[in-house]
Symmetry: C2
Subunit: 303 residues, 2 copies
């Protein structure tokens, strides 16, 4: 199954140096999930050929504008493009009022339904589930109520060994049961244990989006063993004091979170407009957590 994330925007607060505010598209097997939607996200989607018709779920972390100013424009374009299938939006309760006031003054009647799911940032909850993945909130510590989002792949069924199908003449009808753990009883009454017939599936993959937050270990347990962690790294470590004041994180600290969580890979983003060159941010994080990547516009990371 395809499971990757495309970066649409990598900057904090103010766009600069052709870096844009936060937005990412998670692709799970062709279903697209938009995570935050800073100004101009629809431009970058066009530019990167993101298939917007496959986007049915949008997650907004908090109500600082660099994380959602592109949302109402995107909703408007969906409408002008005759979208008809429903859209789910998960975000802070106030987001509903912000959306509604725009449509009120524009006399907009939507051609599609928006199902708005208010997020309370008090405790982690599963807010989305389908056959393959769940999405749960991560409680972050910022100047506004803020949540990250944790995409978890569900455990795959066990893998049946093809040579065993042949050896025991296993009929088609029981394959699914065996993949789900059943033993197999042969025609002459012998029970073949499941462990002989199958092997472990690939470990479930997971992706955590953590922006914006002060440096904290409060959610480390929740993301333990994460495959890929996106963590904000607004500042270089020299500016750690400024990071704490503004409830943000340095690149060194982001790497420490990845290390503590035993992450497979770390993506850093939400870079301050004060840095034209991102190399210090990258070098500092890699010193703590070598498998760190800059999550800049247009890059795609497999989870």
């Amino acid at each position: 199954m395809q499971f990757d994330v495309t970066i649409l925007g990598s900057n904090a607060a103010i766009p600069a140096y052709n870096r844009h505010p936060s937005s990412q598209v998670v692709n799970y097997n062709g279903n697209l999930f938009l995570v935050d939607c800073g100004e101009g996200s629809q431009f970058r989607m066009q530019h990167l050929n993101v298939k917007r018709g496959r986007l049915d779920n949008i997650f907004i972390s908090h109500l600082h504008g660099d994380h959602f100013f592109g949302l109402v424009p995107l909703l408007t374009s969906f409408n002008l493009n005759w979208r008809e299938h429903p859209l789910n939006i998960y975000g802070p309760p106030g987001l509903k009022e912000i959306i509604d006031v725009h449509f009120k003054y524009a006399n907009t009647v939507l051609k599609y339904d928006i199902n708005f799911h208010p997020i309370e940032a008090d405790a982690p909850r599963v807010i989305y589930e389908d056959n393959h993945i769940t999405v749960e909130t991560i409680i972050l510590t910022h100047r506004l109520p803020t949540t990250g989002f944790l995409f978890r792949e569900k455990p795959a069924p066990r893998k049946i060994l093809s040579e065993k199908i042949e050896q025991y003449s296993i009929p088609y009808q029981v394959i699914s049961d065996i993949k789900n753990g059943a033993d197999f009883t042969t025609a002459d009454g012998n029970v073949v244990p499941n462990v002989e017939l199958t092997c472990d599936p690939a470990a479930p993959r997971s992706y955590a989006y953590c922006s914006d937050t002060i440096y904290t270990d409060s959610f480390t347990e929740q993301i333990k063993g994460i495959s890929t962690l996106y963590h904000e790294a607004t500042f270089v470590h020299e500016h750690a004091e400024r990071a704490a004041e503004t409830f943000h994180t340095t690149s060194t600290q982001a790497a420490k979170v990845a290390e503590a969580a035993g992450a497979g890979k770390l993506l850093i983003g939400h870079f301050s407009a004060r840095y034209e060159n991102l190399s210090t941010l990258h070098v500092e994080a890699k010193a703590v957590f070598p498998n760190t990547h800059l999550a800049v516009e247009g890059s795609v990371f497999e989870i």
Copy 2:
């Protein structure tokens, strides 16, 4: 005096083909006036090196998102960039509520004052005046209350002829009076009439921004003799019926407005996303009004 307009966005409704929603910067002698502010206007300002610190007045024509979705992001960036001098915003009354709801949920306390000037779209009014120019509203006919904006240069003082200063030994102190029409009395009591001392100044220049509107002659009288007319040309003339249905104008019709108004120059913009190539729009307009230009991103037109 410098008097020009820089195009930041040229498209209608949906961004397409690297064309962006409506926004323009009028520069009068270094003072910048923003006219509409579609999504991502601040990106184009950065790209085109527009000096945002010189921008003290923003005019919003109506509350369709392609004309203002970039406004709150711009106001937010001003705040993050420590703007301290006040900003005037002229727009439909509902715009205030839209701005306020964003700042409420972001807990934003602005470091600068916004003076909001609600515009009623019932009759043309002068809404801005300084020593050099006035700005008056133009009542347009669209699906929402909509106004254009008419920038008029005030008549310049008469030009005093340098050879006459020498001939009559005119002292420095009375030059200003003569420029404003006074005669000059020589030391021996002869009255030299103003007409002998001065010549006509350059004719006052004017710029009209007319977007969005159905094809109408309702404001032709108001813009009679306009130096430069920007008029929307959303559709090619083959789509005149669609233009009328949506209260928009074809390029041929825009050119007819320019002709009827005796305009010096016509700029067309607000192009539908259905047209990748703009040449038909341009050719059609030029057939009626030869001095027509495509108002595309990054172009600068002297008024």
